[in-house]
Point group: C2
Chain length 273, copies 2
Amino acid sequence: MNRTNLISEIKKKSSFLCVGLDTDIKKIPSHLLNEADPVFAFNKEIIDATADHCVSYKINTAFYESLGSKGWETMEKTLAYIPKNIFTIADAKRGDIGNTSDMYARAFFETLHFDSVTIAPYMGKDSIEPFFKYENKWAIVLALTSNPGSSDYELQQIGDEKLFETVIRKTCEIGNPSNLMFVVGATKAQALGEIRKLIPDHFLLVPGVGAQGGSLSEVAKYGMNNDCGLLINASRSIIYASSGKDFAEKANAEAKQMSVEMKKLLEDFKIIS
Amino acid sequence: MNRTNLISEIKKKSSFLCVGLDTDIKKIPSHLLNEADPVFAFNKEIIDATADHCVSYKINTAFYESLGSKGWETMEKTLAYIPKNIFTIADAKRGDIGNTSDMYARAFFETLHFDSVTIAPYMGKDSIEPFFKYENKWAIVLALTSNPGSSDYELQQIGDEKLFETVIRKTCEIGNPSNLMFVVGATKAQALGEIRKLIPDHFLLVPGVGAQGGSLSEVAKYGMNNDCGLLINASRSIIYASSGKDFAEKANAEAKQMSVEMKKLLEDFKIIS
């Protein structure tokens, strides 16, 4: 999906919600465990219940890999089930030397057909470049993450900037606002204001609203730009809103509630009228 | 596999060679493409041909993921085929917030039964900790990699040390020489001397010998410790030593040649007599 279509979907749905399919077989309602593929059965109902209220789904590869090749199959089926007008993210945090990153790009953009993949930048620019060879595909590079460990390296000072700022600056030398987003945690809302000075136009993928405690309105206040420029992810607060048979209904209510708040923010910022 | 057994295998085989199974279906000999699982057929012959000369196999997950769930199955079969006295590495470069890293640890240590997994440290200590919950399993954390992009962040100065040194120092607060190794590229042989001052006892996984141009004797000179302390990886130079029907024979010759050189180095350093 290209940038124009993504922005158009955000305006059409009045939402910049990304639903995180971090589906843990140990946490899904027990009545689904009789299904041939319980995780897929769960995801299918979650997608049906939330697709009208979100513009993106983020599939966290770890949860599927924990089930081995069967889990990888479940990921393929889940991706295929997502409606084509919804932006898909492989939250895989890959990154390796060039010829290996080529293979990861092939995995997520050719074999699977994700719109985007998250990338860990530690190994440098040449580990990210292969992801930019594909038209209308995106690399979403970790900048400042939502976890406590972000202070270990990301927030360390390198010369007159912090490591995550160096990452943003250097990655912008090889990507542009039509193929590159950054991950910035919602728990770091105020840093978003500073980040917007560096990259006014890029989309930001913002996890950490919901279970991790970030605030939606704070993120919008500091991070929104004229095209919205935000995809806000919520995973556990939506998909595990109930552990009973009404899980899809409760997920729908939670996603709807978030999209109602998002509509108001999009109106406040004059992105929609 | 625990540290004592790893060292014992190195001495018994007079080798510290790790063979990298970076198997690209586009590069394997054409006569194998008629097999039901060409990549597994290739890996099986490579393992048969090299197992006597190496102490470790490193499976690069990217190459398997590029084939989707079928590739993940091939990875499972390959892992199961590796003899139990050989140390196995999932070269996966994973790393995420705690609850997601838990899932990656489950994927590689419980569902698959790798001895170790490579980890990208960008997100900080709490993204690595879950991998230390397993007895006789190892996290192999990226420190200084062999690619040109290592200068982008890894070699940047943070206070009085470089980022990769900060990574080594901080990760040593949560891991120890019996569950933690570091990746240091062979193309950075001289840095190994400095790194050995920081971590005299830890094993180092050293890629970059062979196709990437690193020197085996230089790596040993600067990086070897009293227990050897090195796993030197070669991938392309062994597995693609020939593109013909004699690929396994040529891989055997190449692995044997490396292990002969390694035997001499182990003798020179008085690790074996």
